[in-house]
């Protein structure tokens, strides 16, 4: 907080770091902001190392070893694994069905009335309303959607697919819109000025510009959907997560361990596939 007191004489004002006061201020401000958060969350990490906690942890981890490697069980895990990927993929496909039309409606870049200066009131309102719809869709977490759909359509993968479709539809729609708007619009506007229709201008001007970025984001989201569909299983939406939940409730640590390892492998694989696809698309 203070300058090193060891200095025998204070350096002349010209040699003092002018940023020093600001740096100290922001450091203190950060501490003041974080402290209430730690109190509110009852953050007491030392509890982890009390004898009782250590004993419970040891028992839990000991249970994990060795992971269960048994033909029939492994087969079951693989089937559930495949189901998780299927939930993610089907959810993404449905999300695209939601996101693509909403993006086309909401993007300013293919507005015809904006060519003459300002966009007319009705198109402006429709675009804004569509954006609000996208915000609503994506601001409800997929876990909440899954809980709702488990009530509506019952336990199983359908609930997971619908939950991913709604949240990811909103997410994709918003980010697609941002990608299209951030692109340079010279080509699209010229097509519109020359009398092309909105969708024609989209397919001949906007899409060839941003196709790689759009595809790469879609692949990245698919990878996210795989991870998220495993979590959705815990609320009964099918897949690996549901199986993991069952085993945990039965205190079958070795089964949980196997499934965690398989899940890690799955995520690593999806990561690789997605990175490879995105590298080749860019």
């Amino acid at each position: 907080m203070q300058e090193p007191a060891a200095a025998p004489a204070l350096p002349s004002p010209r040699h003092r770091d002018p940023a020093w006061t600001g740096r100290v201020f922001w450091l203190l401000a950060a501490a003041v902001l974080v402290a209430p958060a730690l109190v509110a969350t009852e953050f007491k990490p030392w509890l982890l190392f009390e004898p009782d906690a250590l004993k419970a942890t040891r028992r839990f981890i000991a249970d994990f070893l060795p992971p269960k490697i048994e033909g029939e069980f492994l087969w079951l895990v693989l089937v559930e694994c495949w189901r998780t990927v299927a939930i993610a993929t089907a959810g993404m496909a449905l999300a695209l069905v939601i996101a693509i039309p909403l993006t086309l409606i909401s993007t300013n870049a293919i507005s015809i009335s904006a060519l003459g200066g300002r966009m007319h009131t009705l198109p402006l309102f429709v675009r804004q309303a569509t954006r609000w719809l996208l915000i609503v869709l994506r601001s409800i977490p997929e876990l909440v959607w899954a809980l709702v759909f488990v009530r509506v359509v019952g336990l199983g993968p359908t609930a997971g697919v619908l939950a991913i479709a709604l949240t990811y539809g909103g997410m994709l729609g918003k980010v697609y819109g941002e990608i299209l708007e951030s692109d340079e619009t010279h080509t699209t506007r010229t097509l519109l000025r020359n009398g092309a229709g909105r969708l024609q201008a989209f397919f001949y001007g906007l899409l060839p510009h941003s196709a790689p970025e759009l595809t790469s984001y879609t692949v990245y989201r698919w990878e996210c959907a795989i991870r998220s569909s495993a979590v959705l299983g815990f609320v009964g939406a099918g897949g690996l997560g549901q199986q993991m939940d069952n085993s945990m409730k039965m205190f079958q640590g070795s089964e949980v361990a196997t499934m965690l390892i398989v899940f890690m492998l799955l995520v690593a694989l999806a990561d690789q596939v997605s990175a490879w696809l995105r590298k080749n698309l860019a």
Binding site: E184, H186, Q200
Partner: protein, 276 residues
């Protein structure tokens, strides 16, 4: 297409509404299938005039009629139909880098194509022969299947011009078609452009920096500081008049490129956030 301007003034869409218009009130008539060159130093309002004629810019004052119709009184869909009869070729060729040349040229047909027909042409191009013959006239037939980002600046500019040949527009508005062409290519390009416009029976309005090319046009408009300085047949544009028009901008008259800073650099783009 017959064009009639009555006290038309226009300003850049980003300009403040009370700023001086880039194009001061101008009145003139251009008859159907006339060919007009527009010259003047940088910032004279040449591009603004073209944009106003292309219905890309709402007039700040006065009005224009195209074939007797005031475009800005039309409903949006009718105005868009009218825009299909205008062809505006901006100075920077409007070509997506990853698009192929054939697709870029065929985009000239979009206004008279249905959405389905234009989508079908994306799957397998229809009208390959038309696109090739348009490119042949600009000496680019060998680039038919290349991607736009493999072309040089001059080649891109000619692809942009070839697109005009595919449009069925009756008014061609071409902004600086020769800005990145070497002299021999420039000669070919302007000859092709004027001949093709004549064949199509289209009116041609063309802004130019090369005064020697412009004075070969039957009619030349000299713009300076947003005002019409002269409106003469090309043969009557004397060296004296050109010196007046380009006073204090003599380096442009000598055939030098437009001064740097002619167009402002694009604003920095916000990065796309890849989180939710």
């Amino acid at each position: 297409m017959h064009i009639s301007l009555r006290g038309l003034a226009a300003r850049h869409p980003a300009a403040a509404p009370d700023s001086v218009p880039a194009l001061q009130p101008v009145s003139l008539d251009i008859t159907a299938s006339e060919q007009v060159a527009v010259i003047g130093p940088s910032g004279a309002g040449k591009t603004t005039l073209l944009h106003a004629l292309a219905c890309a810019l709402r007039p700040a004052a006065g009005g224009l009629t195209l074939d007797g119709v005031d475009p800005w009184t039309l409903p949006v869909s009718k105005l868009q139909q009218l825009r299909g009869r205008l062809f505006l070729a901006p100075q920077t060729p409007p070509l997506p880098p990853r698009q192929r040349v054939i697709t870029a040229v065929l985009a000239g047909r979009l206004p008279r194509q249905s959405l389905l027909a234009s989508l079908r042409s994306l799957i397998y191009p229809t009208g390959i022969a038309q696109a090739e013959s348009a490119l042949t006239r600009f000496d680019l037939a060998h680039k038919l299947w290349d991607r736009v980002d493999r072309l040089s600046g001059g080649e891109r500019q000619r692809v942009g011009l070839a697109r005009a040949l595919l449009s069925s527009a009756s008014l061609w508005l071409v902004d600086e078609p020769l800005s990145s062409l070497d002299p021999s290519r420039a000669k070919l390009a302007i000859e092709t452009l004027t001949a093709a416009a004549r064949e199509a029976g289209a009116t041609l309005v063309c802004t130019l920096h090369q005064v020697d090319v412009a004075t070969r046009f039957p009619r030349v408009l000299g713009l300076r500081d947003g005002r019409l300085h002269f409106d003469l047949p090309g043969a009557e544009v004397s060296a004296e008049r050109l010196r007046e028009l380009y006073a204090q901008h003599e380096h442009e008259l000598l055939g030098g490129p437009a001064a740097a800073g002619d167009t402002p650099p694009p604003p920095p783009q916000a990065p796309v956030m890849y989180c939710r």
